[in-house]
Assembly symmetry: C3
């Protein structure tokens, strides 16, 4: 039986562990109780509590449409009356998931492409003599191109720019302080393509007149999708008027956690609100602002423009969602206790 | 051997199961067949079918550029001729991944900041007497600021607003009904940084003249990245003219499922199309619209504007991608059968 | 003991393997060494190197604010002087995460809605006789609506369009070649809601004057959030002037990999830069451009417009982040070596 022959024969041997069977009832009962505990754990924890038999689906398709309502009249001594309606104060105006609401601004009307003095606030624009203003060079972080002349009256270079340059003092109170009462209507659709399930945050029971009057309230009106701007900001723990002065960034999180084994009407959105532009020590940040211009031409075809530096709040609507449903097969679930036979 | 000494000595004992070796050839053959079956399962299912040895990489970087083509002339009795080209009907115009195409609109030209009657459609603007119109208060969900006067002629408050206020009846047929024939060119680049692999949905073989004439068709032209708007909407199961009247939201999903062990030319995009703004019972939703304004100034520097309420279709291009490739080491793969020695 | 009775009694038997205890010290030492190795692996690899006891949290909330600085004067023979400041060359201007910077353009000023010849570059606009120009039909991929007349002078159909049509030759050098020196200031806030941890990429130590002068450099200024456009493009391995001529797409990836067990000041952003619009063979792509128009009205209320075809670079800021922290319980960690008792 030695050599190769013996090896091949030994391949056909069957090797198994020797077992002892103890016919002791106490040990036997303990052993079965242990097995019952394991089984109970699997059924109780994995199946009932964790719903391990359900299939999770997180591939969600969402669509968000936003609409703001509200008008306000501002009256600044420099530039006169302005009526702000949503087509003006929402940027971009096209009902996006991320949008900016103007709450404060500096207007510089009727700028023309001419020659004037750079602002003294721009370090690179200050000068002692013409040598500090090389012609053709752009002012770093400034408003125009140096002409080679230093203006003694202002102590800054003369520049080729849209003149006059912006008067850069931000109002200490938000000019659109009534933006607090503007409302956002958020229409959110979700779709789980795998289950052909779709839903909207606007309840079907809601009639049009309800939607024209209601206002979201976590306790009394949790399914009204209309939010006061002032409420949104206060729910993040901030003061609206303070945030409106310098600007900021707010996140609106909508969470959908749907169990399709229950009624679809129980699949409802949960809203939460946070300020996004906060540092680790919650120190005040420098706000949020940007500039835009409106261009005009006079009869002779010459261009001029109104420049707006706007401060405001950016809202970012974030959607999270998952759906669970009974899966047809249990086989692809990992139930580790079943694997260890020992 | 009792006490600590005995314990330390016993630490050096080696405990193992007792084995029985059965020299029965039938059982032996059965046992080896069972082992072969397990091995066959591992090789056949895990390696060949599931490709368990491949590395999956889902961190994808994408870039989408869109360009719309098509012009149409609208002629409404109130506001005359309008030529709509892509710089007008695509909002925003800058070739984004998410964009809106105007298909219907209400124009209110030449509004001036004056005093006029609020629209009767706004509930808060209706009045019986001047007491219903407190001066300085904004009309809720309205167009302006109340002046304190109730106008008997209209039964609404006088307001300080952009006048005249919008004539709010939506055309029952889409004014840009020819938008059905507009085309979208979608250029999509993907990059898997880990594998230094990148690809575009515009095939390299495509010459320029092909791209100027082709139109996507799942069967005949699957690699032409140019889509007719009418086709896109009909593939979601909706009627273009109906959707164009009130507006809606369409998702274009591009899926890349690339096996880098095969030729890169086999890594191709798969397109699918869905309507995103659908409720669970597929009831008709209220559409998609927003307003924007174009500002002008007359010779005396007074501002006036054209207000547009536009209805249309928002397209949202969503990219999914994964890539698989042979991994150098098999060790970090979970092959559970190897773990259970018993 | 046969039948059901015997079966139930046998349920209470306890079956276990028979063990052999070998009191051989050499084998015993080998066996314990093997166990020590396994333990060492678990502690050394799983706990120390992989930090298997830490909880990973990847649900990150981010906010990005961008601001561009720089001005340049362009002088084209056709359209005269233009001053480009950030409110003009950044599209959209509102400090978004994804934005486009104009680096080259074709201007078609003072277009009016009239009748003129279609461009010869549009294949569908060419004609031999009036029959090639059916009235009322839009020119495919063209600029207007055919009037039914074929113009012999140009060999193209007469169209109802914004006239004159665009002169479609792109400048071979970027008109805004100084865009290379424009700077982007990126303010990025991250928040891990589960741990109430938030941080910004602008270091708290940074004083205002540092932020007005510094420029990002991977070695010398890694925490200055201000980037020269020219540097950004060169770090992707591309030439700025070449990319500026035709346009392109650049990704800026900010990665946060924070270990909250260490000091929060060690949680710092890592920047990386890639070109997104590259094909598999790195062939030159067709660039990035789009059109927009500025509308004006003359004294008689007639509309005219300036059309801009702009070429430029789209920047897409992508944020990735994960945070690790010591978890209170080890139980839900998978440490496979502990499972196999055999």
């Amino acid at each position: 039986m030695a050599g190769w022959g013996g090896f091949f024969v030994s391949l056909l041997n069957y090797k198994t562990e020797k077992y002892v069977i103890a016919e002791n009832r106490k040990i036997g009962i303990l052993f079965r109780l242990y097995q019952l505990a394991v089984l109970g754990y699997i059924i109780g924890w994995v199946f009932v509590v964790k719903k391990g038999y359900q299939e999770r689906e997180e591939a969600i398709q969402t669509s968000v449409i936003t609409k703001l309502k509200g008008v306000t009249l501002t009256n600044s001594s420099e530039t006169g009356l302005h009526l702000w309606s949503s087509e003006d104060y929402v940027i971009p105006p096209n009902g996006e998931q991320v949008f900016f609401v103007v709450t404060n601004y500096i207007e510089t009307p009727n700028q023309r492409l001419e020659f004037c003095a750079e602002s003294y606030k721009v370090p690179d624009g200050r000068c002692q003599s013409d040598d500090d203003c090389p012609a053709g060079e752009a002012v770093i972080a400034g408003n125009g191109i140096k002409t080679g002349v230093c203006l003694n009256s202002t102590g800054t270079c003369e520049i080729h720019a849209w003149c006059p340059v912006e008067y850069s003092k931000r109002p200490t109170e938000p000019l659109l302080n009534e933006a607090e009462n503007f409302t956002i209507y958020i229409k959110n659709f979700i779709r789980f393509p795998k289950f052909e399930f779709s839903k909207s945050n606007v309840l079907e029971t809601s009639n049009d007149s309800y939607l024209k009057k209601c206002s979201f309230d976590r306790n009394y009106n949790p399914y009204c999708p209309i939010f006061r701007l002032g409420d949104l900001v206060s729910w993040t723990g901030n003061d609206f008027q303070e945030m409106a002065t310098k600007g900021g960034s707010v996140g609106i999180l909508i969470e959908w956690d749907c169990d399709l084994d229950k009624d679809a009407s129980l699949c409802k959105p949960e809203y939460s609100f946070t300020r996004l532009d906060v540092n680790v020590n919650n120190s005040v940040t420098s706000g949020y602002n940007f500039r835009y211009a409106r261009y005009y031409k006079n009869e002779s075809g010459e261009s001029y423009r109104d420049l707006y530096k706007v401060y405001g709040i950016r809202f970012d609507i974030m959607i999270n969602g998952k759906v669970v449903v009974i899966s047809a097969t249990f086989t692809h679930r990992a139930v580790p206790e079943f694997k260890t036979r020992c």
